[in-house]
C-alpha cells in the first residue's frame, strides 16, 4: 500500500481517503448526530417551499420546539414516574415530543396565515418567527432556571443485535444510522416517504403544481390556498422533530439559542439538494460530515505530511465549507439549483364572478 501513498499529490489524496475510511466507525455517529436536525429541518423547508412559501423561520420553529419538548417533558416527569420502556421511552418524553410538534405546527400556522392570507412578505414573516423564538425561549428559560426542574432524560438507541453491528463493511453503517433513537429513525422514514410522495402521489403532483404554477393549478380545480396552508402546517411536524431531537434525544437539556443556526443550514441543505427530500438529505449528510471531519482533524490528526497539511489549514475552514459550497451552488458555478418558480409569491385568487 505504501507505494500508493508515495505518489506525489495523488498519494496524499489517497492517504486522506484511507484516513477517513479508517476512522469512519468513530466519526459516523458524530456525523449522524449533526445530520438529523439539519435533515429534519430541511424537510420542514421542503414542505413550505415546494408549495410556494419561503420559510427562513425554520430556525425559530426548531428553537421553539426544542424548548417546548424539554420543558413539557420535565413538567410531566415531575408528576409521572414510570420506568423507561424500550429505547428509553417514557410518557414524559412522548408527551414532550408531541408538545414540541404541536408548538412547531402552531408557529407554522402563524407563518401560513401571514404568508398566505395576509400576503405579507414571507421573509419578514420568517424573520419575526426567528426573533420571537429566540426572545421567548430565552425569557422563559431564564425564569425557569431559577428553580430548574429535573430533566426527563432522553430517548435511547434502538437495540440492534451485536451480531449485525459486527458485520464487516456495513456493520458500522447500521450501527450509526439504525441503532439510533426514535427521532433519528424518523428522519430516515420522513425523507424516504416524502421523496416517494412528492413524485409518486396525487398530493405530490398537486404540491409541485402549486409551487410552480399556482394559476394553472387553480384552473384544474386545485385549491391553492388550502393546499399551501396544509403543507406549511404539516411542515411544522418536521421542525418539531428537529427541535425535539436536540433536547430530548441528543441531549437532555436546553440552552438559550441552542439551535445555533441549524435552521439556516437546513435551508441551505434544501437549496443544495435542489428542493428534493433525498437531495436535501444528502446535503445534510455532507454538512454533517464537515462537522465530523473538523472534529476528527482536531482530535486525531493523521501523521506525516498529510497531517501537516490538514492541521495547517485553519479548523474554521472545515466548518465553513458547507456555507461556502452553498453559495457556489447557488451562484451556479457548479451545477445550478433552481427554486420552485412560485416560491415567495403570495397567491391572489382570481375574483370569483357569477
Amino acid at each position: 500500500m505504501d507505494f500508493l501513498f508515495d505518489i506525489p499529490i495523488i498519494g496524499l489524496f489517497i492517504q486522506f481517503v484511507f484516513y477517513l475510511l479508517g476512522h469512519l466507525p468513530v466519526v459516523a455517529p458524530v456525523v449522524v448526530a449533526a445530520t438529523v436536525p439539519v435533515a429534519l429541518g430541511a424537510m420542514c423547508g421542503f414542505m413550505n417551499e415546494r408549495s410556494g412559501v419561503v420559510n427562513i423561520g425554520i430556525e425559530g420553529m426548531m428553537l421553539t420546539a426544542a424548548f417546548v419538548a424539554w420543558w413539557t417533558a420535565s413538567i410531566v416527569n415531575s408528576f409521572v414516574h414510570t420506568p423507561a420502556g424500550p429505547m428509553g421511552i417514557t410518557p414524559a418524553l412522548l408527551i414532550g415530543l408531541f408538545a414540541a410538534i404541536a408548538a412547531a405546527c402552531a408557529v407554522s400556522a402563524v407563518h401560513a396565515w401571514l404568508s398566505i392570507t395576509v400576503r405579507a412578505d414571507q421573509i419578514i414573516s420568517g424573520t419575526i418567527i426567528n426573533i420571537f423564538a429566540l426572545g421567548i425561549t430565552g425569557y422563559l428559560n431564564l425564569l425557569i432556571s431559577q428553580h430548574p426542574p429535573t430533566s426527563a432524560g432522553q430517548f435511547g438507541a434502538l437495540p440492534v443485535p451485536a451480531a449485525i453491528i459486527d458485520l464487516p463493511v456495513i456493520g458500522w453503517l447500521i450501527d450509526s444510522f439504525v441503532a439510533v433513537g426514535p427521532i433519528a429513525l424518523s428522519m430516515l422514514v420522513s425523507v424516504l416517504l416524502l421523496q416517494f410522495l412528492l413524485f409518486r402521489s396525487r398530493w405530490g403532483l398537486r404540491t409541485r403544481a402549486v409551487g410552480e404554477h399556482p394559476k394553472a393549478a387553480e384552473t384544474v380545480g386545485i385549491d391553492v390556498i388550502k393546499l399551501r396552508y396544509r403543507n406549511v402546517i404539516v411542515g411544522g411536524i418536521f421542525a418539531g422533530l428537529a427541535g425535539a431531537y436536540l433536547t430530548i434525544e441528543f441531549s437532555s437539556s436546553f440552552q438559550g439559542g441552542m439551535t445555533a443556526g441549524r435552521g439556516y443550514i437546513a435551508l441551505a441543505a434544501l437549496i443544495f439538494g435542489r428542493w428534493t427530500p433525498l437531495g436535501a438529505f444528502g446535503a445534510a449528510i455532507l454538512f454533517g460530515s464537515s462537522v465530523g471531519i473538523e472534529r476528527l482533524i482536531r482530535f486525531a490528526p493523521p501523521e506525516g505530511s498529510l497531517g501537516d497539511i490538514l492541521t495547517a489549514v485553519p479548523l474554521q475552514f472545515y466548518e465553513a465549507l458547507p456555507y461556502l459550497i452553498t453559495i457556489i451552488v447557488l451562484a451556479g458555478v457548479v451545477g445550478r439549483s433552481v427554486a420552485p418558480a412560485a416560491v415567495g409569491r403570495p397567491y391572489e385568487r382570481e375574483s370569483k364572478s357569477g
Binding site: 419561503v54 427562513i56 396565515w113 401571514l114 395576509v118 405579507a120 412578505d121 414571507q122 421573509i123 419578514i124 414573516s125 424573520t127 419575526i128 418567527i129 426567528n130 426573533i131 420571537f132 429566540l134 426572545g135 421567548i136 430565552g138 425569557y139 422563559l140 431564564l142 425564569l143 425557569i144 431559577q146 438559550g256 443556526g261 439556516y264 435551508l267 441551505a268 437549496i271 485553519p314 474554521q316 475552514f317 466548518e319 465553513a320 456555507y323 461556502l324 452553498t326 453559495i327 447557488l330 451562484a331 451556479g332 458555478v333 445550478r336 439549483s337 433552481v338 427554486a339 418558480a341 416560491v343 415567495g344 409569491r345
Partner: protein, 373 residues
Amino acid sequence: MPSTAGLGRRLRSTLLVPFLAILLALVVGAVFMALSSPLVNGSFDLTLPFRAYGALFKGAFGSWEALTRTLANATPLILAGFAVGIGFKGGLFNIGATGQFLVGGLTTTWIALLVNDASPFVAIPVALLAGMVGGLLWGLIPGVLKAFTGAHEVVTTIMLNYLAIFLLSWAVSGPLRGSNVTYARTDEIIAAQLPIIMGTTGHAGILIAAAAVPIVWWLLFRSTIGFEIRTTGANSEAARYAGMNPRWLIIFTMGLCGLFAGLAASTEILGDVHYMPASFSTTVGFDAIAVALLGRANPLGILFSGLLFGAMQAGSGPMQIEAEIPVQIVSVLQAVILFFLTAEVLVRTIFRVRSDARGADEPQLATSYGRKA
C-alpha cells in the same frame, strides 16, 4: 393636492399604524409578563408588568446617564438599520447585516491595532474607514453574486453571516490574538478609541449616527444615484427602460448597505468594546431588520425606531435587576411589534382605522431564490 393638509394627513396615516403596533405590542408584552409572573415570584402578580415597564423607562430615560446609554445603544442600531433600509429601498433584502458588521468590526480592530501608537487624530479616522471598507467588501459579495449569477441575496447573505463568524473566529484566535489575554481576543485598542462626549458611556459614535441621518436622506431622496436605487427597487424593468443599469445598481446598493453595517461595528468597537473577541455575540443583524421595518426604510423613521429599540436595550438591564424580568423580553416585544406591523390588517380591525390607498413604492421583496424566471 393641498400641500399642508395633504401632508398632515399623509404623515398621520404613515405614523398611525407603527404607533398602534408599538402600543399593541406593549399590551401583549404586559399580558405575557403577567401570565409568566408565577415563574418570577411564585404567584400571580398583576403589578409586575407595570413595575417592569417603569424600570425599563427609568433605565432608558430616567437620568442623564440612562439617556446617554440609550443613545450609545441606539448608535449601532441606527447605522445597521440603514444597512437594511437602503437595501429595502433598492428592492434588496439584506439579512447579512450581521456578517457585514462582524467583518467591519474585524477590519476596524485590525487597523486600529496597527495604528495603536499613532495620534487619535490619525487613528480614529483610519480605523473608522477600515470598518466601512470591511463592511463594504463583505456587502459587495452578495451584490456581485446577485448581479451576475442571480443568486438570491437572502440566502447568500445568510451564508455569508456564518462565513463571517468563522473568519472572525480564525483571525482572532490566530493572527490577531492579543499577547496578554486569557481567552481568544485581541489586544486593547487605545489610540483609536472614540472619545466619551456625554456621561460615562456616551461616545462620539452617537454624533456619527446623527450625521448619517441627513446624509442618507440626501443620498436616497436628493441624489441621482438615490433616485436610481429607488427606481430599481420599485420596478427594475422600468429602471432598465429608463437607461439605468440594474446590475451596477444592485452591486452599489449592497456595497452601501455593507458600508453602513461596517460603520455600525466601528462605532461599537471603537466607542464601547475597545477589543474584538473571537466570538462576538450580536443580534444586531436582526435588530437592524426590525429597525428598518418599523422605520419603513425611511432615514428619519430609522432614526426613531433605532432610538426606540436602543432605549429598550438600555432599559432592559435595570429592568432585569429591579423587576426580575429577563432582558429577552425586548426581543419578544420587537417581534410582536413587527408582527402587528406586518399584519397591519389586524391593527386596522382592532382600532377601526380605515385603510389608506398604498402607493407602489413598497417593493415586494421575496420573489424567488433562484434565477429570475
